[in-house]
Point group: C2
Chain length 449, copies 2
């Protein structure tokens, strides 16, 4: 629900225009942080420069934490501020958001900001920036609460109170031994249900689910989804706690991954920005031209068989029916295979291919019978009907095979199978369908002229 | 990460086989509830019947709370138990999960279980079962913590401690006035940062985001996603708090909606169960046959122009190139439109259609020029090249128009636009592409023979 202009937002903008900091602060700080960030985007540059003066770095940080970095070019807003203020705001933000924002900065901007931040934060952020995109390390934040395994419930509650302001989440407390290994987790719920003097090691869950810093974000999201966690600790290979990923970031990952899958199936980036049609066309053309070249090979294949068509022009009537139906079937197989790959992590894939091929046979046979009868009655020529029918079966089986095999092969060589787009599979199946169709037609050409 | 067999699970199964309740309980109860549920699914009927005897209703309830109702037919497992035990287990589960499970029960099973449950729960569940599927009411649970607006922080903490065992979430506490209207929310974080004697009404957030009980689940998910909430209160039109939806259920909704969109684009349910190919084929056939019939109208259209093809067989060469390229472009428009509809809630749709059409013009022109040159050089006939080129432009524009308009019209009449599948749009664009192609070809037929 994007923020829409209304009386409340109008009053806030008026206060800015009137250069009235007290009234502006009074109204603006009542808004939820997310709504503040959405209002920021709607403001003019002049209004924003006043806002930067009227709010404290912490208040700015709270708002910037909510800026969706991918959509709203947070770094551009940061660059509007005086540099020192921007560095302070970055310090006030949660580290995972700081890292996201700085990952979009130029090298110079990055150096400038980092050098103005406290040394420890400087190092921490540089480290986090080093992690590969789309891994646990790139998602995590460092504002978690951890206690030593020798602590009591009372001591832990004290730690929570002290960190309640700054930690990204206080409802899970991680337990470390003296060597900083992650040895347990205790929830605030557990702590409240126990006496102050109880030992944390008695009530903690020592079977802590964790992810490694280089784990793929899709796997992390899958684990959080299955176990309904509010946060997931991230460790290095030695078992030391490095950071946490909170469920709200997991939701963003799930959304990102599903948009990628959807885009892959359609052969277009469905979250393309709202640019002018010129830019949009420019983005879509490369792929469409590539498919066009692939389509030209189908055209030259038909050209190879052009003699057949001039002898029996009725053959042209059924080209798009066969290619279209096989393309639809192949797209179905592709979608099912990509889905099962993302959910099952590559087990039982041989069985999947087998199932898709057999499904293709069954679908093909039914479709072939239907089409043989329709064509036979329509054109009064059952040999023609059977040619179309046989071609249909074979084309569907090949399409299903390609649709299931190609994403699996891509997955095996390490490419995200969602990239095997629907248009690619259907264009490929056009080629195979045409090959099959005319080869069969040639055998029976005498009956078709 | 589905549970895999390993030494730990083998030991548990052995303890069951040896009919050793203490050892079984000792090992089994160490597992995370989710892992317990996954192990349950792997067991045989005999093993499960022992498990039902060895665990308390509460322990069974904790495990059943984690059963993914859609996938794992929880109701079947429930029906394996003695009826009274099953009713107790249902009582121990969180109400939203109880409702999900009972929504899959037969009428008789439902009556039987409800009549064995305490009257208040009976009524509560019946009420929740009445809400339409995919609304906030159908998702919510009633195990939340609420306090009166006159409470102190200390009193609230006491309430939390008392309910820590049973509430689905204790980290948000809802504040009601004497008339049970929802007037505020206070987080456990806020409570811990304040003195015991502070008044809740001083520290609560009175600007509580809420959803109505009949709100669509996709909108609820969008709000939770944007504001990063851990839970969302559900109210009726009078403002009374009825229940809450927790973030883990929102994640399931997001997943469900994205699988639906993906399935719609592909024209197949990608989460179809792992059935035999016979059943799979049976599920996919109706839609494929429907598309086949639509494809037959394209075939009869080409048949109408068969005379042209026999005069200039070269026309057959480019049928699949034009239909295929237009189909790919149309699928891209469709995917972008469906995505923008789900994100933007139907604003600026006129602009979207306009953009898609203009993008189609630009793409079409570039594609047409490329194809005119290729065909002209290849076949030594630039009139042919231009016929193909013009047809390409027009076919792409029409496909983009259909691909963006159809989901928007569907949304306006209240049908989920994700149902406008890719195969439908591309089959429809086959028809329009062929119409355009042969109409243009007829005008220039003398130059093509």
């Amino acid at each position: 629900m994007k923020l829409t202009r209304n009386e409340q937002t109008d009053n806030i903008i008026n206060a800015l225009n009137k250069k009235d900091p007290e009234q502006f602060r009074d109204l603006f700080l009542k808004l939820h942080f997310y709504d503040q960030s959405q209002l920021l985007i709607l403001m003019s540059t002049q209004q924003r420069s006043l806002l930067y003066q009227y709010l404290t770095p912490k208040e700015l940080g709270d708002m910037f934490d909510e800026l969706e970095v991918n959509e709203e070019n947070g770094i551009d807003y940061l660059n509007e501020m005086p540099t020192r203020l921007a560095a302070n705001v970055l310090s006030e933000m949660y580290t995972d958001n700081t890292v996201d924002m700085l990952s979009k900065a130029s090298r110079d901007e990055l150096s400038t900001y980092l050098n103005l931040m406290p040394i420890s934060e400087n190092h921490e952020i540089r480290q986090l920036l080093n992690y590969d995109d789309k891994t646990a390390g790139a998602l995590m934040t460092t504002e978690y609460i951890a206690v030593n395994v020798g602590s009591t419930v009372g001591q832990t509650m004290q730690t929570i109170r002290q960190n309640a302001e700054n930690a990204e989440i206080i409802y899970y407390v991680y337990v470390q031994d003296d060597a900083e290994n992650l040895v347990g987790v205790v929830t605030l719920r557990d702590l409240l249900s126990n006496d102050k003097r109880a030992q944390v090691k008695e009530i903690m869950n020592s079977n802590v689910y964790r992810v490694f810093v280089d784990d793929d974000q899709e796997e992390v999201a899958q684990t959080v989804r299955e176990y309904n966690f509010l946060a997931m600790p991230v460790v290095n290979r030695a078992g030391h706690l490095l950071g946490i990923i909170t469920v709200d970031d997991i939701i963003d990952v799930i959304d990102e991954e599903s948009v990628e899958d959807y885009s892959g199936l359609a052969g277009v980036n469905v979250d393309e920005p709202d640019d002018s049609p010129w830019v949009t066309a420019l983005h879509r053309l490369p792929w469409l031209i590539t498919l066009l070249i692939l389509g030209m090979s189908t055209a030259s294949l038909i050209s190879h068989f052009e003699g057949l068509v001039s002898e029996a022009s009725v053959l042209a009537v059924f080209i798009s029916l066969i290619t279209g139906t096989a393309g639809n079937a192949g797209t179905q197989s592709l979608a099912v295979a990509v889905r099962k790959l993302s959910v099952n992590n590559s087990r039982e894939m041989g069985r999947l291919i087998r199932n898709e091929v057999v499904t293709g046979v069954l679908i093909g046979i039914v479709t072939a019978v239907v089409i043989t009868v329709i064509v036979g009655l329509w054109k009064g020529n059952f040999v023609l009907g059977m040619v179309i029918g046989f071609s249909m079966v074979a084309a569907i089986i090949v399409a299903n095979l390609a649709g299931s095999l190609i994403p699996i092969l891509m997955d095996k060589i390490g490419v995200d199978p969602a990239v095997a787009s629907g248009p690619f599979i259907s264009t490929l199946s056009d080629l195979t369908s045409v090959m099959i169709y005319f080869t069969i037609a040639r055998l029976f050409i005498v009956y078709l002229m």
